[in-house]
Symmetry: C2
Subunit: 223 residues, 2 copies
DNA sequence: ATCAACGATATTGTCAACAATCTCGTCAGC
DNA sequence: GCTGACGAGATTGTTGACAATATCGTTGAT
């Protein structure tokens, strides 16, 4: 047997713990307001306390958790207005990413996008909102990564964490599912045509509509 | 004598140390590549090691410093291409901020902007690029804060730190100084006219031009 | 003179013990 | 029953000692 197939339980590093927590916040395993007790995280990850504390501080810097003196960390909750602000920032940054993507897109990228688009179409046919949500995320990521702007990609990733759950929510509305997919198709056409400004406008409108739908669906959850 | 007039030398907190370092990076007191030795910062700030380490980790999360294992923290240096990406992100976010500002601006805000504009004009007359740079920063901050979007304001603040010095550099070119001021005047007119889309376009062009000038001036500093 | 090996010193990484504060159940008094 | 004081336990904050690694001058061989 190859040495190393039996993973030695190396204690996780600070950033790894941050990822661990981040993912649980994204997926709703940790909900807004929930307290994050150091000992619990230590037990579940096998990390040392220093590392856990480091990770929590890091997440505080990202605005994901709140730390009160002697009261510890808890998952920060967003108001509807803050979600709106996040969407506004997404419109700006993803719009710009789309602009640059369109200006740079080569046939290989477009082919990947086309492939993804076919799968998205299939999801609409099959009424598979969950799968659509995952592929939709991949679609957006492809645009952002393909824009060649790592700074924008990084800031967008941070913006997306607190609203990760919401990014799936709206696709359970079938009307929205169809509209969103039509948006994607239209954007693909604009990319192929090399219309960077048009593609940017379309992306901004697409994200703006996403928020409108969301605000209708979720308004009851916020004060 | 009032108690407290003699400040008790309370040891600085983590975020305060981060600010301290951040400012020195901004103002060029710490230059890219320079190593940040924990003991030195302890001596200069009076903080404990834990706090200093916390602050450095925080700054690493912001992308301002680089931490290598057992080698410590050093000020991260940006390539010209990364500066370009930052400017691209600024165009997107400040453009959006300008859009929202124009849509929300009330007479009081416009009056403050007008006042700032007069001072900027005076700087152009007096050929005071340094003062112009400071007021220019204030002008941009007024727009961003006035947009009512704290998320965008926060991300812009982070984007600006690594390029803080550069934000002043281009105004020593007199041609650029005049152009930038004319841009400001034109934007003010668009704000007053309530043309949000036009103001946004103007802001993006303004920032884009700023980078062009910069790239010409500074290209020698980058590989 | 050049270079590699070595070792003293400097610097960072980790951990565990202790201190400070909060939380929450309990109970006396009304 | 209600309220507020009290205290044990839980949780977080801080510090200092020690381990691991890097840095840099020295030395000796070629």
């Amino acid at each position: 047997m190859q040495a190393g197939s039996q993973e030695p339980p190396r204690p996780p590093t600070g950033p790894e713990i941050a990822d661990w927590v981040r993912q649980r916040i994204r997926t709703g395993r940790f909900v807004p307001g929930q307290r994050l007790v150091e000992v619990d995280i230590i037990r579940q990850t096998g990390a040392s306390r220093s590392k856990v504390r480091e990770a929590l501080k890091r997440l505080e810097g990202e605005g994901l958790v709140e730390i009160e003196e002697f009261r510890g960390a808890s998952v920060r909750s967003s108001t509807l207005d803050e979600v709106r602000q996040i969407y506004r920032a997404r419109m700006a940054l993803e719009g710009m990413a789309m602009h640059d993507f369109t200006a740079r897109a080569d046939p290989a990228m477009i082919a990947r996008l086309q492939d993804l688009q076919d799968q998205l179409d299939a999801c609409v046919q099959d009424r598979a909102p969950d799968r659509f949500g995952r592929l939709n995320n991949e679609w957006h990521r492809l645009i952002v990564e393909g824009s060649g702007n790592k700074v924008i990609a990084d800031h967008l990733q941070r913006l997306n964490v607190p609203i990760h759950r919401l990014l799936f929510e709206s696709f359970y509305d079938e009307e929205r599912l169809k509209t969103a997919n039509a948006d994607h198709r239209a954007m693909l056409a604009l990319i192929v045509a090399g219309d960077a400004d048009g593609a940017e406008r379309a992306m901004r409108a697409h994200i703006g509509d996403g928020f409108e739908t969301l605000a209708r669906i979720e308004s009851e959850f916020y004060s």
